[in-house]
């Protein structure tokens, strides 16, 4: 439940976010009001590395991107389990090391499976 005081450690983070927001949005807003705008047809057309844009930008992408993203999610969750383990490692000692070895070994099985099935290959 909410306590009366917000976590005081996070005030620098909060200030950082606020300042970066002000800087980002402020730059855009300021330049919008300061600039002179002379638009022509070429300037407003879609720019694609100097060549003529072909077809719609919202083409379906290959399903390989999905596999890569899925693998990224899974290994990201694995890494999330490593942070608290690293923090308390000096308190749990050898037992903690062994259980983390089991944890990582299971992921190694998944990794080898993904590798053998060609999940890491592009073509």
């Amino acid at each position: 439940m909410l306590t009366n005081t917000p976590p005081i450690n996070y005030i620098p983070v909060f200030i950082f976010i606020v300042v970066s927001l002000i800087f980002g949005v402020g730059t855009l807003v300021l330049s919008y009001f300061v600039q002179t705008r002379i638009d022509d047809k070429e300037k407003l057309s879609t720019y694609e590395c100097g060549s003529e844009p072909i077809s719609d930008a919202r083409n379906p992408f290959p399903a390989r991107y999905y596999i890569i993203a899925m693998l990224f999610v899974i290994f990201d969750v694995e890494v999330a389990f490593l942070y608290p383990w690293a923090v308390v490692f000096d308190q749990i000692g050898l037992f903690g090391l062994l259980e983390m070895i089991i944890f990582i070994a299971l992921f190694l099985v998944a990794y080898v499976y993904a590798w053998k099935k060609g999940g890491l290959e592009w073509d």
Partner: protein, 199 residues
């Protein structure tokens, strides 16, 4: 007072982001609104002194799961599939009502204050949230921790099987035009290859 104001800000932005995510006709805008929601939920976690959960919320949800959503959005053609998506309204409304009822039930029927354990707000604050989680997760809750590894293993098997990375499966997918409509411009796939796979 400050905590209340911050809570209303984060809660309001969470709800606003969620509404935009559902209502926006542009799917990429929906995904970005969802990013806003995820980040503000992390803010609520910080207010609840759950710093580790807040960090994981940013790393996993805003980092990985949103990328997954974006890639899923890029897999299909919104113009072609519009009819199919709109047919899902009844199911969506039904599921939404069920989840809302569950949340209201949890909000009004649950005893918020249980028995006080050894990890009080003050104790968690003094030792640090990550530390507190680590102390119980790797000692008392070792079995669920190892089970989580197994569940992720199964998720990885499932995703690779379903998305069909086997040679014959991929060939068939291309025959059914699953792998993308037109041929992308030269050079583009190679470049994303290097970025994504890291080769």
């Amino acid at each position: 007072m400050t905590a209340q104001l911050l809570f209303f800000y984060f809660g309001g932005m969470t709800v606003a982001g969620a509404i935009v995510a559902v209502a926006s006709p542009n799917l990429v805008y929906s995904a970005l609104a969802l990013l806003l929601t995820f980040i503000h939920i992390a803010g609520i976690y910080v207010l609840l002194n759950a710093e580790f959960i807040a960090a994981v919320q940013i790393i996993v949800y805003a980092g990985a799961i949103l990328v997954l959503y974006l890639f899923v959005l890029m897999l299909f053609n919104p113009e072609k599939e519009k009819l199919y998506l709109h047919r899902q309204y009844p199911v969506g409304i039904f599921l939404g009502v069920v989840v809302l009822c569950l949340m209201l039930f949890a909000a009004f029927k649950t005893e918020i204050l249980g028995q006080e354990g050894s990890f009080t707000v003050e104790a968690v604050r003094s030792m640090g949230h990550t530390d507190a989680i680590g102390r119980v997760l790797y000692t008392d809750y070792i079995f669920p921790f190892e089970i989580a590894s197994l569940i992720l293993l199964v998720a990885m098997f499932g995703s690779i099987l379903l998305a069909g990375r086997g040679r014959h499966l991929r060939k068939r997918g291309e025959a059914f035009d699953l792998s993308g409509g037109g041929t992308p411009p030269e050079g583009k796939p190679k470049r994303s290859d290097e970025v994504m796979v890291g080769r």
